[in-house]
Structures are given as C-alpha cells and as structure tokens.
C-alpha cells in the first residue's frame, strides 16, 4: 500500500490541501466573529449597472453550473455514475460539452467584470485590493480549468479515477498523494490555482458565497426584534 511518495508530492497534495482547508474554515470563523460588519457581497451596482448586468449574470450562472459539474464529477464516485447507466463515453461527452459551455460563460463574464472594474472610474475608486485580486485569481482558475479540459478533449485521461478519489480522500481524512502522481500538468496547475483561491477566499468579498440567503425561503415578511430580553 505504501508506495513511494516524493516530498514535493506530499507537500502539494497532502500538506497544502489541509493547510488551505484550515485557512478556509478558520479564516471564515475568525472574520465572522471579529468583523461581521465587512461581510458583504460588496455590490458596486449603484456605481455602474449596465456592464455589471452582462458580466455578473454570465459569470455567476456560468460558475454555478461549473460548480455543479465539479460536484458531479469529483464528489460523486464513478461507480455511481455507472449505476445510473452513465458509461465512460456518455459521461465524457456531457462533461466536456457542458463544462466547456459553462466555463466559457463564466470566463466571458469574468472578462467583462475585470474590464469594468478597471475601466469604470467610479468602480475602480470604490475597489479594494481584494476586489481586484479576486478577479485575477478567478481568471487564472477558470482559464487553467478550460485549458485542462481542452487538452483532454479526447478523454485519454480520466480524472474520475485519479483526481476525484484523491479529493474524496482529502475530504474524508484518508489522503493518498500517489493518486496525483500521473495527473497531467495543466490539471495540476488548475488545482493549485484553486487552492490559492480558497486560501484568500475568507479575506475577500468571496465570503458572500457562504451567505446565500436560504432562510429567506420560509421567512415571514415582517420581522420584529426585541432590544434585549428583560432581566429580573
């Protein structure tokens, strides 16, 4: 079982992911507890709304579809796909077409958003460093992801037997870096970029993703709050 693992492989595919997960979780908790006031989507629509409409809509719908795709491909095991009658060929077809489409959608949105952020003076003036960095890192992640997919149109490489079990291993505390040894370099770079994104995540506007308003579905329209319960 214990195959030889290079120090670098151990560092990149075991130590680093856990470090990133730790930063991600503790970072969110820390920020929430110490600075709830800065927790917002940081909307800039008041300052510019036409480009935002195209950019934000395309990016968000694209990236959300991409996330669903990643969930199906990486979290749900291959055996389940097969149980649903999804053979290799069919899976690959759906993944490449769907993945490319939603990825390109997200990329298009990101390009518009980035252009907007730097060209509209009002938006630029109201931008923090984090707002700019986030767009850059997201561009990196999405472009590398698209390149990796394009490099594997033929489907020679099956990430469902390598990256996917590696990721599930990380998440279930049974890390196995050997699974990552033969992964093509573009995929590796994409994963590293994602880790960079997750590491800066809690310290940027991206915290808004964790605040997706779920309770809104059943909430009453009018809310009353007491100042404080009375003490006897």
């Amino acid at each position: 079982m214990l195959a030889y693992v290079s120090k670098l492989d151990f560092l990149l595919w075991v130590a680093l992911p856990y470090a990133v997960i730790t930063i991600f979780i503790l970072g969110h908790i820390y920020r929430y507890l110490t600075d709830g006031f800065s927790w917002t989507s940081k909307s800039s629509e008041l300052l510019e709304k036409n480009m935002l409409r195209i950019g934000s809509m395309a990016f968000h719908y694209g990236i959300l579809m991409v996330l669903i795709g990643h969930f199906i491909g990486l979290i749900i095991p291959k055996s389940w796909h097969e149980a649903f009658g999804l053979n290799d060929h069919l899976y690959h077809l759906i993944a490449v077409v769907g993945g490319l489409l939603s990825g390109l959608f997200a990329l298009f949105g990101l390009i518009v958003l980035t252009y907007r952020r730097f060209s509209v003076k009002r938006v630029l003036a109201a931008s923090s460093l984090g707002d700019k960095v986030v767009l850059g890192v997201l561009l990196l992640v999405v472009i590398l992801g698209l390149l990796a997919t394009l490099s594997n149109i033929g489907g020679q490489f099956d990430y469902r037997t390598t990256i996917a079990p590696w990721l599930r291993g990380i998440l279930t505390l049974r890390p196995d870096p050997t699974l990552m040894q033969d992964v093509p370099v573009l995929f590796k770079l994409h994963i590293l970029a994602v880790m960079l994104l997750l590491a800066i995540w809690p310290f940027t506007r991206l915290v808004h993703v964790l605040s997706v308003p779920i309770a809104f579905i059943w909430r009453t329209p009018i809310i009353f709050r007491q100042r404080c319960p009375e003490r006897d």
């Binding site: 989507s41 909307s43 800039s44 629509e45 008041l46 300052l47 709304k49 009375e230």
Partner: protein, 493 residues
Amino acid sequence: MALKAQLSMVINLDKCIGCHTCSITCKNTWTNREGTEYMWWNNVETKPGIGYPKRWEDQNKYRGGWKLENGQLKLRLGGKLFEYINIFHNPYLPTIDDYYEPWDYDYENLFKAKESKFQPVARPKSAITGEYMDKIQWGPNWEDDLAGSPEYMLKDPNIDSELEKEITLEFEKTFFYYLPRLCNHCLNAACMAACPSGAIYKREEDGIVLVDQEVCRGWRFCISSCPYKKVYFNWHTQKAEKCIFCYPRIEAGLPTVCSETCVGRIRYIGVIFYDIDKVKEAASEPDEAKLVEAQLKLFYDPNDEATVKEAEKAGIRYDWIEAAKRSPTYKLIKEFGVALPLHPEYRTLPMVWYVPPLSPILQTMTKHGYSEYEIFPAIDEMRIPIKYLAKMFAGGNEQLVRNILKKLLVMRMYMRAKQLGREDKFNQNLLKEVGLTPQMVEEMYRLLAVAKYNERFVIPTTTKEKYENVYREQGLTGYDYIPPCDFCNPQQG
C-alpha cells in the same frame, strides 16, 4: 387582537418654509461619512417636481412597494424566486446618477494657487472618484422652488397627461409646496419584506425600522423595494443604510434631529397603538381610495379603557400608555382627522403623516377674487391642487383631502372670529359640517399653531436598567467603544 406601540410623526405642510434646516442637521449628524455623501435620510422637495432620487414615485421604473394580485399582497419588485434569479444584478436598482454624483470643492486651491493673472477658483471634485467635474448637471434640490419649471415640474410622476394640460394652461397661476421626506417606519415595510438576509427589522418597543449592519450582506433589494427610496446603498461600506429615527435620542425622550431643529416647528412625534393582527388585512384593501380609512381603523384610542387593558395585556409599559394618551400624532391623525399618509397606495402603511397644505389653495383662490369668508364653497373649484394632493396623500380620494382642507379653513375662520370678538357672527353650522366641536377646534388650533416643545413631542424614554448593567457600563459607551450586549439573543422570523 395584539396591540403594539409605534412612534409616529406628523408634518404640517402648511407651515413648511422649505428652509432645509432639517436636512442639513440630519446630514451633519448621520450622513457625513465616506460613502454616504449622496444620502439625505431627510430631504425636502418642491412639489410638483421630480424629487430625489429623480422620479422616485415612478414605480414602473423602481418597482417599490406592494401591489394586489388576485387579492394577494405581493411586492411590486417580484416574489422570492425573482430575487433569487436576479440577485447577481438587480434590474430595478437606481444608480448614483438617479440621485446625483456627490462632490466637494477644491478649496485648497484658493490658498495654494500660484500668483497669476486670473483669480484662483475652487473647482468641484467628485466625492467618489476624486476627479474634477467639469460641469455639474444635477444635485440635491436642483429644482428647488420650481427652478427650471415647467420642464422639471411636468416630469413629476403625479402629473399625468390630463393634469399636465391643465397645469400648463394655468402655469401663470401655478402652485407649489414643500414636502419634507424621511423613512416612514412603515407598519408593512416593503424594504423589510424584500431583504433576503432578514437584516431589516422593526423594533418591538417603538416600531423603528433599522438595518442591522452586521447582518446586511449587500443584496440591495431593500433599496428597490422601498417605494419612498428611503433605503440607500453606502458605496463605501457596500451595505444598506437608512433613517434610524434618531433612536439614541428617542430612547432618551428627545425628538429626532430633524424635528428638534425644525424652524417652522411643524413636526410632531408621539406614540400610536395599533393592532398588528390586522395590518395585513388593512394593507390588502382592494380599493386604493379606501386605504387611508383602512389604516386609520388600525389605530386605537389610547383614552379608551378597553385599549388600555389591551395595551397592558400586550406588556406595554405604563409610561408608554401615559404617553400615548397625550400623543399629538394620534390627535392630529385620528381624533381631528387632519393628517394623511404619503402615497397610501404603496400599501406599506407609512407612519409619517402629513397635514396637507392649504396655502396653494388660498393663494389660487385669492387670485380668483374670493374673500376669506367665501372660501369655503370655493374649495371645490380648485380642481387642480385638490386632484394633485389626492394623488399624493389619499390614493386619489379627493373627498378626504377636501374634508381636511375644510376643517383647516373652518378652524381659521372660527379662531379669527373668536379673536376679533365676533363669535356671534360665526356660522356654527360650519363646525357641524366638518364634524368638529368648539373644544376640538381650539385644541387643534393650539396644537397646530402654538404648541410648545413638550406638547409637540411626547416621547416616553426607554428604561435600560432591566437589561443593562448601567453601573458597569458607565464611561464605556462612547463613539469608539460600545460594549456588546452579553445576553442579547436577537430573534428573527
């Protein structure tokens, strides 16, 4: 039945001189920070006029307030599904240009400019980008006192094509009045209903509507959904902000800053008891012209024994009940019935009410050659102002406006007769016609004309001893350190 106490305000438009003191003192107190330069939690508009933000009453553009759909109350903005789909970009959000781009002047240049042939000037500089602005195209109160009329005046959303024709024809005899506006701390607040994070809430004790800055996530639907455009987006903190009814002052029994500093002394603040169980029903009244009546039915007479019992049952404290009994706003709104809510057809049940202005009518009538004693029957001839006022304050119900204007006129005539010692000459039938007694008229006159500070503002203080360790906190509460509440458990939902 479940009674609740609500702080309410009445603004007597007849006496507003449009000095903007209220707006300035409010701004100096609350919105002089970065990101809030363009916000006027209290602003005063000239009506007819476009207003602030431009054409805020045009709900086809901004989608504020509620509408009835098959008898069901729905946000005009759209349902929850609409908000989820459009959360990434809210199609109905106003942009900064709908308000105005805030600016400051480069005063430094006046001191630092090198010697030259021309005098140095202080050029305007955008408060957002910091860049020079060549030409300022719009700003707060750009159209004050009908500046730029008729061009701007006729863009008022309350003026439709029919009214426009009449007004244009009558332009030489035009009327205008001032409309001070602030958050109405509505009973059926649309801002609150639209907030996906549940950050906006009503205070149980006094009904003040607040945005919890720790919970707001900047989804910005409240801004669209408030039909009065009284929630603003702070572009610096990227969260929503609004009028807080000066709650730190209110808790100490003091009126809001706008009321305190009002030069005309035209503002009143008091407690009103209403039935929370009937709010939805009142807001769902199908006939827009009956909405004011429906809202009035929610308010209970604080001097009635039964109301006091209900209030005690609801846990409302003794001093609040006593304050409600003396409430100037209850008197003006319900007892005398001389105040109206702004745009009741938005169905948010606003709690800032207005005594409609007589002056445009008096002015027009004098032009027509009526004397003060003939004025009464002539009110009906003043079609344009009445129709316009009814659109703003009564869901189009001209009769309501007419009744109030008559009451105000009768009060003037009665008091004039009295003060000149000509009571015998006063036609008592006039009182009967408007449903007032001599005592009521005199009380109303006192309240509207000479009432002192503690008659205009009847505000019970908040007692904190029960839930705060005042001794421990002495000296700790200030601008930079406000200790967190140890046992707060804000409940939502």
